[in-house]
Amino acid sequence: MWKTILRRFLIMIPEVIILSLLVFLLAKAMPGDPFTGSINPKADPQQIKHLMRINGLYDPWYQQYWNWVVHLFHGNLGNSYQYQEPVTRLIEGRAGNTLWLALFTMILTYIFALPMGVFAGRHEGKLPDTIIRVYTYVTYCIPFFVILVIGIWIFGYVLGWFPTTGSISSDATGWLHTVGSRFYHILLPGLLGALFGTVNIVQYLRSEVIDAKHSDYVRTARSKGVPNRDIYLHHIFRNSLLPIAAFAGYSITGLLNGSIFTETVFSYPGMGLLFVNSISYRDYTVITALVLIYGILNLLGTLLSDIILSIVDPRIRIE
């Protein structure tokens, strides 16, 4: 098992290097340079050239890449042109919002998906199973951004139950009120994300339960006279819980990628909205930093899931 984990880590190293190289080259391919915006337009072109030379912009690309990586490890991602502040501070302010929303959505997803998965597996091939299968299938097929738009229209505008913009109302004072307002703002996107993102967990749990139903330990429990309800709750469910928990990493990865849409529709000030805005302002330092951060978060998410899965599921270890 340690071998698998070690191998998984070793594979990650070249992936990170290639990712950083790719991001760096993409940043180079974007028009503009780090001085765009911070220089007076009347400045002497000679002076700009001098500035670029002392900042190493005429160096060969590998030298520039190395400098960029060194800066990266010092936590220096450059300055945002649009907001005129360090990118790290800018993202720090937004990252919390995105991560809270993702975490909340994930918890809700599990709350909805776990009972559905067990229920569908328990009543395999019967009506409840069919209903759940159709439900997960329909929710999976519809593009998520359409659901978000229709959801905000019905529940945000027409019924007026939920706020439609921002992450906190402007008049929130006091600790309780602040937390309440924040929670209120992530409730609708979280609910929509959870209701329409159950398919993976439900399907996996369903097949786990169906497998377990015919296994020896369940038969033993049943012949001992353990009530059916307890068999499902304490024997089968507990056994399938760990692999299901391992899905959290993949699930976070998916939610982060979806955050671009969620945050755009709900004008929720997180990293996804920051990315979309930065693209329209051509704020390249921010864009580069965000692509890198999302890539690394994706990597860590899959790493986490892979490791947990390889611990709990020996079938995966044999490669």
């Binding site: 993409l26 299938y137 519809i142 593009p143 505008y157 849409f261 979309v276």
Partner: protein
């Protein structure tokens, strides 16, 4: 031929006809026949199929009769015209442009890109999966690492970045940019099936008798997993409609002067539009939902047809 045959044999022509009929009846029905009988057994699937084919044909032909630049001209007299009027069936948007016409041209563009994306990305994914699964060694290992790396990239962001870097793009370049990031699902599926398939006897026999690798892969293994390929293409077609419209919705797909279902839904970003002028975006949203559900449903029926144990249509 039967007459010729009769001269040298005791079997009469009538017997021969009966025998060949029997042989035909006993032979495994062709894939097309299985799929057709599956659709005949499932009424809703038939309806879904007709909706899709009819709708795609309608927008493809209908869009030919619409002059797009003229349609996209601003007509201030028709500013947010109400829907269900003789001139504007589905009303008009903030520029006085007919929503119904935009819907037709937009559907043509979105569906066209989705078809193109499905063809390009599936072809690539199928080849990747077949080669990776067949060679199953260092080649497979290397290809799997590339796959892992692609899965790690934040896809939506990468596409948006690429779209902004490329100065001039049209629907063809857009299709290729999308395709870079959407072949992984297909390739993984095909690889796992190819792994199983290449351990079968017919592959080993073919290899011993000296058939070239490429011939085994594309002429022998691929036809054997063709039903899987058909199912996967249908399902990814439904998904790809969401890909293009989603990015157009964010403003990074088709340029805003080219109508797409996604750019039409982005009308809903304006708080006034979303409540008061619902007809500017709701039809496009509903159309995407219905289209995606119908296509996926057809995909499900095809999946049933591909799996002999789940068939409903076969007579036996």
């Amino acid at each position: 031929m039967a007459e010729n045959f009769e001269q040298h044999s005791d079997i009469s022509a009538a017997d021969l006809a009966r025998l060949s009929q029997e042989a035909q009846a006993e032979a495994t029905p062709s894939t097309a026949k299985i799929i057709w009988s599956e659709f005949k057994a499932d009424r809703p699937a038939m309806v879904a199929l007709f909706i899709i084919v009819g709708f795609i044909a309608f927008v493809m032909v209908g869009a030919l009769f619409i002059n797009t630049p003229k349609m996209m001209e601003t007509n201030i007299m028709a500013y947010f015209n109400q829907p269900f009027t003789p001139e504007f069936w589905l009303g008009a948007d903030s520029g006085g442009r007919s929503v119904a016409k935009q819907l037709i041209v937009g559907s043509r563009n979105s569906i066209g890109i989705a078809i193109g994306l499905t063809i390009v990305s599936s072809t690539f994914g199928i080849c990747w999966g077949l080669i990776s699964g067949y060679f199953n060694g260092y080649i497979d290992w290397g290809m799997q690492r590339v796959y892992d790396f692609m899965m790690m990239l934040p896809m939506t962001m990468m596409i948006i970045v690429l779209v902004t870097i490329i100065p001039h793009y049209n629907s063809v370049t857009l299709t290729f940019i999308f395709s870079i990031f959407y072949w992984e699902g297909t390739s993984r599926l095909i690889r796992s099936r190819t792994l199983a398939e290449s351990e079968k006897d017919y592959v080993a026999a073919s290899r011993t008798s000296g058939t070239s690798h490429w011939k085994i892969i594309f002429r022998e293994i691929m036809p054997n997993i063709s039903s899987l390929i058909i199912v996967d293409c249908t399902l990814s077609f439904a998904e790809n409609i969401g890909v293009e419209t989603g990015l157009s919705y964010l403003g990074f797909g088709l340029p805003s002067q080219t109508p797409s279902l996604g750019t039409m839904i982005s009308n809903a970003n304006d708080p006034n539009n979303i409540t008061q002028y619902w007809w500017t975006w709701l039809p496009a949203a509903l159309e995407i939902i219905i289209l995606c559900l119908a296509i996926s449903y057809v995909g499900q029926v095809l999946r049933r047809a591909a799996d002999a144990s789940q068939r409903q249509g076969a007579a036996d």
